[in-house]
Structure formats: C-alpha cells, structure tokens
C-alpha cells in the first residue's frame, strides 16, 4: 500500500489551482506549505511579507520584475531554500502578495504531470537531468515549425 503513496504531495484545490507541498527553509525556521504552482512566474518562490519575516530570508540585491498587470517594479531579491521531495533547492525569492507561489525556476528539475479532468497532479524528480541540447525553448521551436510549415504567426497558411 505504501508503494502507491505519492512521494511528493500535489493536487488541484477548490479554486482550480495546482498546489504542491514544499518545505520552505528560511534562516530562522522551516515551514511546510501547499504552495500554488504559477507557470507564469519565472522565479523560484514568492512569499507574503509576513511569511518572509517569520522565516528570515537572505537578501542578495534587487532587480526589475514584470508584474501581472504588465508594470515593471524594482524589488529586492532574496535567496531561500525549498525542499521538494528529497531535494533541497536554492531559489530566487521575491516578497509580495498574499499567497505562496512557486515558479518555473523551482520546478525546472522535476517532471510535473497534470491530469486536470481527474484533479491529479504528479511531481517527480528527474532522475537524470536533461542534457542542454535536449532543451528547446518554446518560442524558438514554434518559430522553426512556422518556418518549416510556412505559416504566419496566427497559424494562417501564407505563401502557398
């Protein structure tokens, strides 16, 4: 029976958001949390100020961040450790909002499979990291495919 239990707890909540159980390791304490997976967030972790103060984060500087409404804001950037499965990951962290989000930087070393209709989410550590050559960025791939199929940016066929 124990073999069927998932190694990493993840699922879809009542608001249709993907939540993944992580352990956030700050300078003062560690807290377990069901963080929302936000694939639109390029960083590793986003925390509300109250959680960040409670945990204690290591400030490493700042950078410009594009917010959800398209505005650009200069924000402090922190480093934090997040345990997902057996692996402890260093992640870039920003402080804002009211919930805990995890982004693409954190899930880079994992395979995430979402079966939305069944409400199932499985997260597994990648046994062997993908070689760099196997990683193809979407914009590059779509551009190559459009060139090969001779279609425009909205998918319409051109020049035939």
């Amino acid at each position: 029976m124990a073999d069927t239990l998932p190694h990493i707890i993840a699922g879809i909540d009542s608001q249709n958001q993907i939540r993944i159980e992580v352990e956030i390791q700050g300078l003062y304490k560690k807290i377990p949390y069901g963080a929302i997976l936000d694939t639109g967030f390029s960083g590793g972790l986003l925390l509300p100020l109250i959680t960040a103060v409670d945990l204690g984060l290591e400030k490493v500087g700042g950078g410009n961040v594009v917010l959800a409404d398209g505005t650009i804001k200069t924000l402090p950037i922190f480093l934090c450790k997040v345990k997902l499965g057996d692996k402890v990951n260093d992640v870039s962290t920003i402080v804002m909002g009211n919930d805990v989000l995890i982004g693409m930087e954190l899930i880079g070393g994992y395979q995430v499979c979402v079966t939305s209709g069944k409400g199932q989410v499985t997260v597994e550590e990648e046994a062997v990291p993908l070689p760099k050559a196997a990683y193809v960025q979407y914009d590059r791939l779509s551009s190559i495919l459009r060139t090969l199929t001779n279609t425009g940016s909205r998918g319409e066929r051109i020049g035939w």
Binding site: L27, I36, D38, T39, G40, F41, S42, G43, G44, L46, L49, A52, V53, G56, L57, E58, K59, V60, G61, G62, G63, N64, V65, V66, L67, A68, I72, T74, P76, I77, L79, N89, D90, V91, S92, I94, V95, M96, G97, N98, D99, L101, E105, G108, Q137
Partner: protein, 83 residues
C-alpha cells in the same frame, strides 16, 4: 531581514549591464546575469538562484543587480494573486 535596496545599486548595476550587453547577449541570451557593481564582477547561469549563490559565496556582504540577459528585467509574474 532588511527589505530596502542599497542606494545606487540599480543605477550602477544597469550601467554595468549596458556595458556588458554587447559581450554577453549573443552567447548567453535568456540566461541570468548577476552583477556586483563595486568590483564589476559578474556571474552568469541559466538559473538566477545559481548565479546569486555563486555571487554571494564570493562577496558575502554585498548586494547584486540581477537581470535576464536580453530582457533588462530579472523576473516576470504574469499570473499572480492580487499583484
């Protein structure tokens, strides 16, 4: 935990980034650069956290300017709760 940024960090970092841009943009487009504005040393990695960690090991008491190469921004949040 202090939240403010050192005065001049962003301006000095951006100035350094603009100087580095022609050198690094072609080779490292889409990766992250972390710049220490006093020594002008910089660290490049596909993951921002890795570049920051490397910079912090070398300069434990300094703060760094971060940017994604080719974009002038460090991070993006296109779908976030209430921000």
């Amino acid at each position: 935990m202090t939240v403010g940024l050192s005065p001049g960090l962003m301006a000095k970092g951006k100035e350094q980034y603009d100087i580095l841009k022609p050198v690094i943009e072609k080779k490292y487009y889409g990766q992250y650069v972390v710049i220490e504005p006093i020594s002008h040393e910089y660290f490049i990695s596909p993951r921002l956290a890795d570049a920051l960690r490397e910079a912090k090991i070398k300069f434990p008491d300094r703060e760094f300017y971060s940017a994604r190469i080719g974009f002038d921004i460090a991070l993006s949040l296109v779908a976030c709760c209430g921000v």
